[in-house]
């Protein structure tokens, strides 16, 4: 009986974490651009703005 309670608790907690992460990623807009996400990984250089010490002369 106790072991069932423990198992239930553990499995529900794990699943709830999964649900939480999914809802978080949904709110963070991770599903808004699935095509873009698929091709972004092909470019290793980080295209997001950096501190302005990046040297332009390349």
């Amino acid at each position: 009986m106790t072991i069932i309670l423990l198992l239930l608790l553990v499995s529900l907690t794990v699943a709830a974490c999964g649900l939480g992460f999914f809802l978080w990623s949904l709110r963070a807009g991770q599903y808004d651009d699935l095509d873009g996400a698929a091709s972004r990984i092909l470019f290793d250089e980080d295209a997001t703005p950096r501190p302005s010490n990046a040297s332009p002369g390349h």
Partner: protein, 789 residues
């Protein structure tokens, strides 16, 4: 500007190293703009772009084009933390490399906080700190690379769509969570009850049931909202839809299971209830996503075509602003090759106007000061000044919108197949459950509780999971298939309406014929090629048609354009001129139609005549539609001789010319009242009321804004072929929908007697429900194999 940077050898071939269009022999670039763009990219150390990109045929080439200037200021939104934000539609994004290039260029601007391209929606979100005026410079940076950026205000409808989509996703997540966990517990219970493991004691069973209830009930309350809301809305209007039996089933099952749990009974059906919701939500989310994508693309098409209007200020300067911001009496400047942005009266300037998108007239008409002109008309002559007249209810557009609204009211509501089935299905199954209860209670004399339990089992088995998936599953796949073929299905019910079409009514100008005038005569190839090298540097519609007719053309350098007159190229042997009759020094006898002349030193002048031309595949398409057993009709606002010529070419027997928008509506409505299901295909503003009146409507992507908004289906590209493809796909989809409905009703016929007999246990219910849903989905997937030809 020279490009002295290192360029891969392969790029020195016949195409421009930047945009991929043909370049002059021995040159790396087709034009100075491309050379400059290449310099910028190499200068920023982003040359990798050229190796990693994939040029997609059919998308806009990356040739910088300093055509338009936007009044960006009115689209800028201030963010809460004091920065400025702007959303722009991007034209020319071909692959991930373009996204990377745009973002990398913006990342090198110190003031830019966010510069992110959404590749799915092709939109750029730009957030920067500093002055709002900085927007022009930042946008200019990207435009210099060859992309076209158009300010894009997210519509209220799109925002609601987005919210609904996220809400459905959250519901799906919660339902998935609950379904997984409740099923996990249920399998334990079934194993115990079925003797697979040691029997479960009553205390453990009660615990497991309570845990299931605690997971399932909040989840159902949360994830069931889309269904409950829709069912309530239908009931309030005294209608019924598929969501009514779903909601009723889910709620009854849950309530009954709760009672069982409290009473310490052996069977609960929480697992069935949440799994049902989960499956249904999968269908809803996919459906929403597929149509959302089609709608977003349609919006994007419209946004990319929007133009700003140049208003002449009292002090003579120009102010660029949106069409809706032009006040009555203000003067608007319309350059050659531009579309007039407002309804008004021509004040200064005269010339030929192409009104095909407004009135359906195929040949340009002459306009003089005092002529009334409509928004959407293309200026083929020199620069015009138009005095804006009432922008309110008196315009042609407002008249069309009124007709559209009237037609839509008369059209009535279309009841989708699923709801037609639900109308009969819901009362039948509920009666069945009632009879089961009465039969067991009075007939067999069992206790009320047990009779109720058996009756509930009937409700669970008949809960229309497969039935509710039968239609959306097919629609998702069909909509996706059409989307990949460049056909944007905007309406949820359009697919079903398309399937029953028996009459197709075509507009002529811009629908059966190409949207722009085409070169008619068969000129000497050498002359045509020479003319095209000049024409390539002009944005004039006739010049563009000339270039299109010539095929691969390398623009000549040093061409000077005299707006509204023509083009001049100075060569060693003298001037080459391309343009109007007068410009090329021909005697001034009247023109016999839209034309261009080519004058060269020491050679006779050559005339290029233009006329409307049927789309390349129109004949084949019409033949195919006829072979599908459809009645074809042609209605046009154009002159009878033009309409007859096209009708004869395409062998369409029923045609009608000189139709006003009202005539078109009444023709479509008389066909409908005679019992025909009419597909209207049209592009002009004058077609829009008829589009709204038809059973279902389609517009090419070149259509007037109002027509495109009204149409259920928007097709891209230069071909007419999408019309039969869409019709055939809809018919196939309808067939699969019917199969699905038959499958799920067949499942009910097998399972309901078992439920009435009281033999259905929770595991059997869950297994039957899931397998029937999966069967229906698998059957729908067969549509995927269909060809898109």
């Amino acid at each position: 500007m020279s490009a002295s940077l290192t360029i891969p050898l392969a790029a020195t071939a016949l195409v421009c190293a930047h945009c991929g269009l043909p370049a002059p022999h021995g040159r790396q670039f087709c034009c100075p703009g491309c050379a400059a763009a290449h310099d910028i990219i190499e200068g920023l150390g982003l040359g990798r772009y050229y190796q990693q990109r994939l040029l997609v045929a059919g998308t806009r080439a990356l040739r910088p084009d300093a055509g338009e200037r936007w009044d960006l200021a009115r689209h800028i939104v201030a963010t809460p933390d004091g920065a400025k934000a702007l959303t722009l539609a991007v034209d020319g994004v071909q692959c991930g490399a373009c996204v990377w290039l745009i973002e990398s260029v913006l990342a090198r601007e110190p003031s830019v906080l966010v510069g992110r391209v959404n590749m799915t929606t092709r939109r750029l979100r730009l957030v920067w700190s500093g002055a709002p005026e900085d927007a022009d410079r930042l946008v200019g940076r990207i435009e210099a690379l060859g992309y076209r950026l158009v300010p894009f205000d997210v519509s209220a409808l799109a925002a609601t769509q987005d919210r609904t989509g996220r809400m459905l996703m959250r519901c799906l997540a919660v339902a998935g969570f609950a379904a997984g966990n409740v099923m996990l517990i249920s399998i334990g219970i079934w194993a115990g009850q079925g003797g697979v493991i040691d029997p479960i004691g009553p205390a453990t069973l009660a615990l497991l049931h309570w845990v299931s209830a605690l997971i399932a009930m909040p989840a159902i309350a949360y994830a069931g909202r889309p269904f409950f809301a829709s069912a309530l809305a239908a009931l309030r209007q005294r209608r019924t839809n598929m969501d009514v039996p779903i909601s009723l089933g889910v709620l009854l099952v849950t309530g009954m299971s709760l009672v069982e749990t409290i009473n310490g009974g052996a069977h609960t059906y929480f697992d069935s209830a949440v799994t049902l919701l989960f499956f249904l939500l999968v269908g809803r989310v996919l459906d929403h996503r597929a149509r959302g994508q089609a709608r977003a693309t349609a919006e994007q098409l419209l946004a990319l075509r929007a133009t700003d209007v140049a208003v002449v200020q009292p002090d003579g300067t120009l102010r660029r602003c949106g069409q809706e911001q032009v006040a009555e009496g203000e003067h608007v400047l319309v350059a050659t090759g531009e579309r007039i942005g407002v309804d008004g009266v021509l004040e200064r300037g005269s010339g030929m106007l192409d009104t095909s998108l407004v009135t359906g007239e195929s040949l340009p008409t002459k306009a003089e000061p005092g002529t009334t002109v409509y928004a959407g008309t293309l200026n083929l002559g020199a620069t015009l000044t138009v005095r804006a007249t009432a922008t309110g209810a008196a315009t042609l557009l407002a008249e069309c919108v009124r007709l559209i609204e009237a037609a839509e009211t008369r059209r009535g509501r279309f009841v989708v197949l699923a709801d037609r089935v639900a109308r009969r299905y819901a009362p039948t199954v509920h009666l069945c459950a009632l009879l089961t209860f009465l039969g067991w209670y009075f007939g067999a004399g069992v206790p009320a509780g047990q009779a109720l339990l058996t009756a509930s089992a009937v409700l669970i088995i008949t809960c229309p999971c497969a039935l509710a998936l039968a239609v959306p599953a097919v629609q998702v796949i069909a909509t996706g298939r059409l989307f990949r073929g460049g056909m944007l299905l905007k309406s949820a019910t359009a697919l079903e309406r398309l399937a029953s079409v028996d009459t197709v009514v075509f507009d002529k100008t811009g629908t059966l014929t190409e949207p722009l005038l085409a070169l008619m005569d068969d000129p000497d190839p050498a002359d045509l090629h020479l003319a095209a090298t000049l024409a390539a540097s002009s944005r004039h519609p006739l010049a563009r048609s000339l270039v299109a007719a010539a095929g691969v053309v390398v623009p000549a350098e040093g061409v000077v354009e005299y707006p509204g007159q023509g083009l001049v190229l100075a060569t060693a042997s003298g001037e080459i001129r391309l343009g109007s009759r007068a410009f090329c020094g021909r005697p001034d006898n009247p023109a016999t139609g839209p034309e261009m002349w080519l004058a060269r030193p020491g050679r006779t002048t050559v005339r290029f005549g233009f006329d409307e031309r049927v789309r390349a595949d129109a004949k084949e398409t019409i033949g195919r539609l006829r072979a599908m057993g459809l009645t074809l009709k042609l209605i046009s606002g154009d002159r009878p001789e033009q309409v007859r010529r096209i009708a004869d070419t395409l062998r369409i027997d029923h045609w009608q010319a000189e139709c006003s928008p009202v005539d078109k509506v009444s023709l479509v409505e008389s066909l409908r009242s005679a019992g025909h299901n009419v597909l209207m295909v049209g592009d002009g503003m004058n077609d829009s009321p008829a589009l709204a009146a038809a059973s279902v409507s389609a517009s090419p992507a070149t259509a007037a804004d109002v027509s495109q908004t009204v149409a259920d289906l928007v097709f891209q590209g230069t071909k007419l072929q999408p019309v039969p493809i869409a019709l055939r796909t809809a018919r196939q989809a309808q067939a699969v929908m019917r199969q699905n409905l038959a499958l799920s009703i067949g499942y009910n016929i097998v399972m309901v007697p078992l439920a009435i007999a009281g033999w259905v246990t929770p595991w059997l219910a869950a297994a039957a429900m899931s397998s029937s849903s999966l069967l229906v989905m698998a059957n729908s997937l067969r549509l995927h194999r269909g060809t898109t030809r």
